[in-house]
């Protein structure tokens, strides 16, 4: 019988107040075991306070060939960044 355990992507919150970050993957038969395996594999050095697991097959990713249309249009929207605006120093902190 061929029964490779599915692959899970592991996200860990390193400290209170931070968002979960992708740290790697592992194999597990189900979500509950994936959480436990993540605890044993990815927090051996006190790296986490919270774990998310997502089955890798359930992730939908953007396609690299769409890179141009997906991300370049935002490059020209410089006015979204605070450094675009020149505010005189006299105004104080803003």
């Amino acid at each position: 019988m061929k029964t490779e355990w599915p692959l899970w992507e592991i996200f860990i919150r390193g400290q209170h107040g931070l968002s979960h970050r992708h740290v790697g993957s592992l194999h597990a038969p189900d979500a509950e075991m994936a959480i436990k395996n993540a605890r044993d594999v990815y927090t051996r050095r006190n790296e986490g306070v919270s774990i998310w697991v997502v089955e890798a097959a359930a992730i939908t990713a953007s396609s690299p060939s769409d890179k141009g249309p997906m991300y370049e249009p935002s490059e020209s929207k410089v006015y979204r960044h605070p450094s675009f605006y020149d505010i005189p120093d006299d105004v104080g902190a803003m």
Binding site: W5, H27, E32, M33, R39, D40, V41, R44
Partner: protein, 253 residues
């Protein structure tokens, strides 16, 4: 029984359990069924070895003969050991290892939880740290016992065989003797018999989910925790574990 002597015995019982079981579990390193389990087993063994250092360290202190935890671990012979017979049983297959772990964890958590309220602060402090580790061990071993019991026909049969093989050693965890009586009186540790009902409840819940059948209760096989009669397995384990200290007496590593 004199309080100090009983206290020392008690500390050996705690430390020898974790020492012998930690050693057994460490035998798996590099040989587990899948990488994730290999890593998890090593974590369990590391927790148990860490607890051993604390229990035997305190035992050496209480003994007051200038010994260390290492002296107690590596330079006593089989008849000096006070561990439950359950933990010296061989690893067998992965199922037997996990069943042994589950049966021990289910007792260990209750014991440690009670010890957090010990009248001896040092005991309470060790228990407070260890109980968190043991709680995770129980979570994991129970889930694995359930998974394998309720898995395939083969995994079910193997888990039932493991339970049948190990269950006779469960009773020893709840036998009370003069050492226990002295500890109960001093408020240091709970009466072992008092932990049985909750243990049985945990067992019933997990085994039912695992679709496993509890074997008929025979007379408890004991002798480990009072040192009267160990199994033959212990001597071989000690031969391996103590080799370096015996072969090179007095060397520092």
């Amino acid at each position: 029984m004199a309080r100090e002597a009983a206290f020392y015995e008690f500390l050996l019982r705690m430390g020898d359990n974790t020492l012998i079981l930690g050693h057994r579990v460490s035998e798996w390193c590099g040989h587990a069924p899948v990488l994730e389990e290999d890593i998890a087993l090593a974590n369990t063994a590391l927790d148990l070895i860490g607890q051993t250092q604390m229990w035997l360290g305190l035992a050496a202190e209480v003994q007051g003969a200038g010994k260390t935890a290492d002296d107690l671990a590596f330079l006593r012979d089989a008849w000096d050991f006070r561990n439950l017979l359950l933990v010296e049983m061989p690893n067998g297959d992965f199922g037997q290892t996990l069943m042994r772990q589950f049966l021990f964890d289910a007792w260990h958590v209750l014991q440690l939880r009670a010890l957090t309220a010990s009248s001896d602060d040092r005991v309470a402090a060790i228990a407070a740290k260890a109980v968190k580790e043991a709680t995770y061990h129980l979570d994991r071993s129970a889930e694995t016992v359930i998974g394998l019991g309720d898995g395939t026909e083969e995994s079910h049969a193997r888990m039932q065989a493991a339970l049948d093989y190990l269950y006779p050693y469960v009773g020893e965890m709840f036998l009370s003797d003069a050492v226990d009586a002295a500890l109960v009186e001093a408020g240091i540790a709970p009466d072992p018999a008092a932990l049985r009902a909750e243990f049985d409840a945990t067992l019933a819940r997990v085994l039912s989910e695992a679709t496993l059948t509890l074997p008929a209760a025979n007379r408890a096989r004991g002798g480990g925790r009072n040192g009267k009669m160990h199994t033959e397995h212990l001597g071989h384990l000690l031969t391996t574990m103590q080799w370096m200290q015996r072969a090179y007496p007095g060397a520092t590593w």
